[in-house]
Symmetry: C2
Subunit: 343 residues, 2 copies
């Protein structure tokens, strides 16, 4: 079952078999045929470990993802896998828990598995430039933020939407409908930079509209999970001040919130408008359809491997791609005024 067996079976040397297997030109058609026949006959499959050992590169890129429970990542990961395959790379997935030291662990994994590069998906790794450089592996960040601006932009690449600006846009949509008491639902700002950025957009939109920020309308959960979002919204409805609109920093949180609203007897959008960011598949099937800013998930994933592939090919330095969302007008937006009049 090794290359040697194939060589003996077909009466050639191991070198020749290797050449045939790797599409090298210096081999005659007749020999190539004999070898291929032997391969089929013996059901030979090359040993990847041995192959990777002798070559320096593995032709594999790693995707380290924090919070894979977020359904938004599903299409991103799929598009990464497809794009990687098209570019001749294999994708290996590695989930990490939120916590310190995980990036080092991922880098160690990358080095031990001889991965060519890394795609960091959905997390916040506030490392110093020195620490980042110590990774020793080229990487590109996806749906990720350089918290505190500690990373030197020239030392890495990234592709994502402009979270702050898009959140600003979402909240502005609510404001333009006359809403003033706008609640925001987010997961832990301290741990999640994406959440933090979108929260900033919320704050700035309110400020620019001359609306005072009410801390009691900021509903923060400790984790991203839907049950937490549901429970937090329930508590906000029970204990917090009144609000006519809700901005959720993620579709999945919005869906949980809509359930909480419904359970509390509040209708969407009559009693409360809802808007979010992400555009996960499920958000098309809520009743009413969730109004949300759809991230170009496929493009994000494809561009990430595109940039990484360029870096790996030697050409192309660091790039920071900012993509735009597209608004899907669902049915969760209502006007604040007409609402009041209707009552």
């Amino acid at each position: 079952m090794t290359i040697k067996d194939v060589a003996e079976f077909s009466g050639v040397s191991v070198s020749t078999v290797s050449r045939v297997l790797n599409q090298h030109p210096d081999v005659s058609e007749v020999v190539r045929g004999r070898v291929m026949d032997a391969v089929r006959e013996l059901h030979y499959v090359p040993n990847n470990s041995a192959r990777d050992l002798v070559k320096t590169r593995t032709d594999a890129i790693g995707v380290v993802v924090r919070g894979a429970e977020n359904p938004f990542f599903t299409p991103v990961i799929r598009s990464i896998e497809n794009a990687a395959e098209d570019a001749g790379y294999e994708m290996v997935l590695h989930q990490i828990q939120s916590g310190a030291g995980e990036l080092e662990a991922a880098a160690a994994l990358a080095r031990s598995k001889r991965l060519n590069g890394l795609i960091l998906l959905g997390g916040c790794y506030d490392y110093t430039p020195e620490q980042t450089a110590a990774l020793g592996v080229p990487f590109v960040c996806c749906t990720y933020t350089n918290r505190f601006g500690r990373l030197d932009p020239a030392s890495y690449s990234s592709v994502s939407i402009d979270d702050r600006a898009e959140a600003y846009r979402a909240v502005q949509l609510l404001l333009s409908r006359g809403h003033r008491a706008i609640a925001v639902l987010l997961d832990s700002v301290s741990d999640r930079s994406i959440s933090q950025l979108r929260y900033q957009g919320y704050c700035e939109a309110l400020r620019d509209a001359g609306v005072a920020l009410d801390p009691a309308l900021v509903a923060e959960t400790v984790e991203f999970e839907m049950p937490a979002a549901y429970e937090r919204t329930r508590r906000l409805l029970a204990e917090g001040p009144a609000f006519s609109a809700l901005f959720a920093i993620a579709d999945s949180m919005a869906i949980a919130a809509m359930k909480a609203l419904s359970d509390a007897g509040r209708r969407v959008p009559e009693d409360c408008s809802v808007i979010a960011i992400d555009g996960i598949e499920m958000s098309r099937y809520t009743v009413p359809t969730l109004t949300t800013l759809i991230q170009p998930a496929e493009t994000i994933g494809a561009q990430a491997v595109g940039i990484l592939a360029e870096v790996l090919a030697g050409r192309g330095g660091s790039r920071h791609l900012r993509l735009e969302t597209t608004l899907r007008p669902g049915g969760t937006l209502g006007a604040a005024e007409t609402d009041r009049k209707a009552r």
Copy 2:
């Protein structure tokens, strides 16, 4: 950056370094300390390819999944990963498209990567016993069916729910509420054995209740995707006969169907009851909450690696584990009679 560098740095042989790296007993404390210091100092990370090459086993199991777009698989895969890690295995994921020859490709992958075993997740591979044996890799099937009974039960292991019986139970619940015109929503029977089994349960429940099967109420989609389920339900509502209840063979299809019902102006459960099987997270957040038979996803995944680990350890032959679902009474079930009276 190799083991040799570490050996030279710490003034010992490569053998000794290897020994301390693999927790072998025959090494003194002082030397162990020196080596560990060197490892840290040089940021040494073992080369997995070389390690795998010399050992026969890789301590990795592959999960080949067909239709990873099904959100039901998410927790299953996660639990497999966790259980694998606990058992000292690494998990590698491999998605396949529906199509022939994919299992062979997966087996080739397993052999080329020297995977210890395979978990086949959510598919139907109707192979002959000879073909199966030719895989050359121990495997256990998960949410999977031995279509046509062609596989010798003694030649493999499996863990899943009893799809036929659970579907029977779901439809029985509808029947017990007085429903007679019960539609069924499923994806391609010809390609998906799970779908086929659940459809069988539907047919048998109707038959045992003395209800004639109406082919016009059998809504089949060509693919599993939610848009297909939505569209098929829409068409059923527009063109098909009246029905007071719907059995969807999967939660995700049920959610899409509920949206179609809503868009058609039909209320759930007043105008139409809905029941499904799976118990995905999203189904808790529909309005009303979906009534469904929850699969023990975590247990399924954990048991799958448990059985595989036993097989790999040499002990334990083939086992076929059938787990039970638990009914979550949501709000999508109504009575047929009271409904009619209310009108």
